[in-house]
Symmetry: C2
Subunit: 230 residues, 2 copies
């Protein structure tokens, strides 16, 4: 399948690598491809410049948001939450219409210091905002509660015996995304939490994730819901 | 030990039953003991009237918030989150001073309809508010992410192979609460998430809990952090 991935950071790259391995064609979307390619320093998360990564992953193509979105039959939003709505606007609502948009972003605001807060929460969510701004896309929120390497390879941890959460308004889209996660990434346990308003719940897990990251000293953990059959 | 439990609902009763079983003396605190005892209808959660429950648990004494708090060497806040600050004010700051206050409450606002929201979150929490209002108490937030029967008996589920989370400013108090949870309730896995500001993370898990409750159709589930050693 042709897949458009919005973003070029560690989350976007993790998805791109895995999807190329499983036989898909991928374009990663960015605001300004020339600028993305000419960067020579690590980003604020310590990830190597895109050009360095791309040399190791030559099948991963780079394009504008618009290019990646028009190319993709299925789209993944792996941009920083603070830039997601703008990135998807640049991608073009017409390029999102009728397509599944897998939203793995988090509404993190790092401006306050060491502990990030959410710039939307409780009575609304980034997942809902994206669905409202792009009503013709089938937004499915998922995977935002795990670090990127686990998102695309849950088997890294406890033989995959832990949960992905998922929500969205379109039942068929959710079914397709569940199969997508299982077939490409190997997810065994996926809990469907209902319509897109459950994105509030998925995003409000992030403060717990951040505190656990601090307590454990590693991002390689995930949540398992004990008592849930699947 | 003498234990004062603020509240008379299902959470307070679950703790009282278990603590009496394990050999403690318990007073449950309420605003108006006479009114609590004369109620003859189930509460809004469907719990039987207090007097009916007390007949089955005659060792569980009832008193004013003030009476329960002065009696307790250790205190448990099991009131509704919306009434917690007021209940603790009635309990009397002097009766909280120097004591461990185990806070299991949640800042739930049910006024909006079917899906509750939090009346404080993200940049503050009920746990922090309680600690700020009663600076001489040693507030330890814990157990709010599980339903009452599991709070006091984690072995009900998967032989106890899941997590309690805990946070607070006083290291000795957290140590004592960990031992309290292990000795009285049988908790095997307790993750210390740091100071009381982590109460935000514990309380922001509740929307996920509510959605999972809807998806599973039972409150008998809990979170396990896979990848966390203890």
């Amino acid at each position: 399948m042709n897949i458009g991935i919005m973003g070029t950071g560690m989350v976007a790259r993790a998805h791109a690598e895995r999807l190329i391995e499983t036989g898909h064609k991928v374009i990663l979307g960015t605001r300004d491809p020339v600028q993305t390619l000419t960067r020579t320093e690590a980003d604020f998360m310590g990830n190597p410049p895109f050009a360095v990564w791309q040399k190791l992953n030559p099948q991963a193509r780079l394009g504008s948001f618009d290019k990646a979105a028009s190319f993709g039959e299925l789209l993944i939003n792996a941009t920083l939450g603070s830039g997601s709505l703008n990135a998807l606007q640049l991608a073009g609502p017409e390029n999102l219409a009728g397509k599944i948009l897998v939203d793995v972003s988090n509404p993190l605001d790092f401006s306050g210091g060491s502990q990030p807060i959410l710039f939307v929460s409780n009575t609304d969510s980034l997942g809902e905002q994206i669905q409202r701004f792009f009503p013709q896309a089938h937004v499915v929120k998922t995977l935002n509660t795990a670090t990127a390497p686990i998102q695309v390879n849950p088997g890294l941890l406890a033989d995959g015996d832990h949960h992905a959460f998922l929500c969205g308004n379109d039942v068929d889209a959710k079914f397709d995304v569940q199969r997508f996660l299982t077939d490409n990434y190997g997810w065994q346990h996926i809990a469907d939490l209902g319509d897109i308003s459950s994105a509030r719940a998925l995003e409000m897990m992030i403060p717990m994730w951040v505190r656990l990251f601090g307590a454990i000293g590693s991002p390689l953990f995930n949540f398992k819901v004990v008592g849930l059959k699947r």
